[in-house]
Amino acid sequence: MPGVANSSLLALRDRIRHIERPARHGVLPFGVAALDCALPGGGLALGAVHEILGAGGDEEDGAAAAGFAAGILARLGTAPVVPAGNGIVLWCLRRPDLYGPGLVAYGLDPARLVLVRASRDDEILWVVEEGLRAGLASGLAAVVGEIGQLPMVAGRRLQLAAERSGIIALILRRWRSATEAAAERDRPSAALTRWRVAALPSADIANEPGIGRPRWRVALLRVRGGEPGIWDVEAADATGHVSLSAELADRPAAPARLRAEPPNSSEKRRRAG
């Protein structure tokens, strides 16, 4: 009997998953088993909104977050799930400090970018939504918005627009002050996932002084239908791929995730989405 109940439960779960379909438009795998296992569908869902936060002093500038996003966008350009003609990235920002030559290092061709500069958050939200509404026919691969405040309703609108069009939206959160950051950091949103990318001290290269391989601490803070976790990775390479840091790669994935699980319970509660 328990076996029957179990199987019907599994079938029910499958059905629910099918109805929710977080990965209806396909996923973009990271190519790192530990990360992909934590995400529903085995990768970053297309047709969804993903939030990327900075950490510490970088919350204001989002440099690491931009690097992480650039890696994702670079892989998106060559991913089989994205139609061949779709390569343009609409990147909306308030402060035009994005530097083309720096993006090349993560495999993102700046020629693919269309920068939109707007002065207010609500304008940027509008641009992101317009981009998502334009659909795949517009040749867009992704929309990136750098905003400070993401109200629940606005986030929900974006999520719905993304689900309809199948375009991925990356929201880079940039807060202008510590007070804004404190107010916004833990506020829930309608995004499918929330990431926090922090720079880690670089890995030493044998017999070489100076800065080694840049590393990030990538935290998946919230994910609907997945498993939050924290991983230390090497920064995206010229093809946009991150890789697990050497000391982590030696271990099996599960203990790494356990070890990485944040100790405070608030992170755990948010897992439910």
């Binding site: 510490g56 002093g57 970088d58 500038d61 989002g62 440099a63 690491a64 977050a65 931009a66 690097g67 003609g85 390569g87 343009i88 035009p96 400090d97 994005l98 530097y99 083309g100 030559p101 720096g102 993006l103 090349v104 290092a105 993560y106 495999g107 061709d109 700046p110 020629a111 693919r112 269309v114 920068l115 939109v116 500069r117 707007a118 304008e123 509008w126 981009g131 334009a134 026919a137 517009s138 040749g139 867009l140 922090a198 720079a199 001290p201 670089s202 290269i205 070489e208 002084p209 100076g210 800065i211 080694g212 391989r213 840049p214 590393r215 090497e234 920064a235 390479d237 010229a238 093809t239």
Partner: protein, 561 residues
Amino acid sequence: MPSLPTHLKNGDVPAEEAPFATISTAGGRRLIAAVNPAAAAAGLAPGMKLADALSFQPGLATAAAEPAADAAALDRLAEWCGRYSPWTAPDGAPGDVGGVKIEITGCAHLWGGEAALAADLARRLLRQNIAHRIAVAGSLGAAWALARFAACAKEPSQPVLPGPGEERAALAALPVEALRLDPVTAAGLRRVGLKRIGELTAMPRDALARRFGEAVARRLDQAFGDLPEPLSPLGEAPSRRVRLSFAEPIADPADLARAAERLADDLVVRLAREGMGARRLDLAFHRIDGRVEHIRLGTARPSRDPQHLASLLAARLETIDPGLGVEDMILAVFAVEPLAPEQMALDGRLDMAASGIAPLIDRLGARLGLDALRHIEPHESHIPERASRCAPIDKGESRKNREKRRLGSPSPPPGAERFGVRWGIPGRSSAPTSPSHAFGAGPSLSPLKGGEGIIGGRGKPPRPVRLFTPPEPIEASWLLPDDPPFRFTWRRRAHRVRRADGPERIAEEWWIEVGTMAPMVTDAIRDYYRVEDAEGRRFWLFRAGLPGAPPPRWFVHGLFA
């Protein structure tokens, strides 16, 4: 008949029953500047002294004349007359009665003939309480003369419409002032007994020119249409125009949007026939109170997609105040470009212009301005802020020009269009130096490892993802002249440097004009260091100026991911 202008004339004073006049002050005397019909009937005329006027019209209401406001009103009226023809212009010499010139060649049939057009114009002007006189004639000069001098005798608001053969006769009967002569010349003609235009035509032309100047003969020829006189229209004349009139004025936004759609449809049919696409559009809303509201917009590339155009217009509809109602909408195209049925990218590269993104760009540009949309372009330069530029999104010609410029530049790298080469980071510094110091106490320092830090850096030093313009000054502490700082304070936060790469020396490009580095950094030489603090954040710092006196200054120029 080369042109068929009509001429309407309005005193621009309220046409109420009571006598009314505007007053201007000249040399301490107060003179009447303009009168309304009631005052004119009472015998008042512009140029009279106010005191005289009041002596036999004590109840005269007066107001100060405002020539600037009158001129503006005349401009508005000329714009409103755009409903009849795209070629309209205000005609108001200072001190003269204002008028509006309308070129109706080829337009009259749309209204059922010249008489019907004039009647419609008269009716609408009357509704706005504008006293007017209308004349239609074969030349600008004749219309001017007839409107001002022929209609006086008849019912003032009755349009003057001489038949094809009657124009000469009608003109001949008018006084010489009707020839648009300056008062001195007109007075001179009168002194010798030439009072009517008909008397002038009989005179030998060269004698007339010798005696009274070239102007008389020229004006005479212009009045009779022997000398062409083009009308320079108010603003730019559109290249294509479609118009929609409503039996009842509409004000509902949904109706306006539907009308805009219909106009876009009509326009697209014409554009498609000619193989053109619209680049610049103007949708004018003629309100019943005589005001005209505009939506002006541009497109990123030629377009003749009716849905696209209609959505662009609809997005801006909320800026339009329909007032009491809109009776006419005119969609005009000011710039067109050939639009082939389809476009293809020639090289495998993503071509923004050819992809389907143009409608989106237009939509964003319509709200934020096309200027807000940028493209990152590589540029051959060692100066970081110049190596990558935010250029406006490609627009037809500008792209071609840029292409030309790039080809004309001294050293266009072959295959520069290809990704990778195109976005190659200028690695050579103008004065490449890479001294290496490893010292125990301070941060460990290495010479540039050819971008080994970032995987795949093709032998080039890495560049940040965020670049600050202008660079942000920091307070730095360092030990040896060529060392990176071991500690610095940026945005009121202290950072302790753990690791560093550098320096990479970037000097002013002396072959370009001097002082083009960031305005606040005047020192021509910068030494760049990539440093990592205790948290792991990676900064791009530079020292401006050489070590010594005055002490060099330090800046954060960018952030690495």
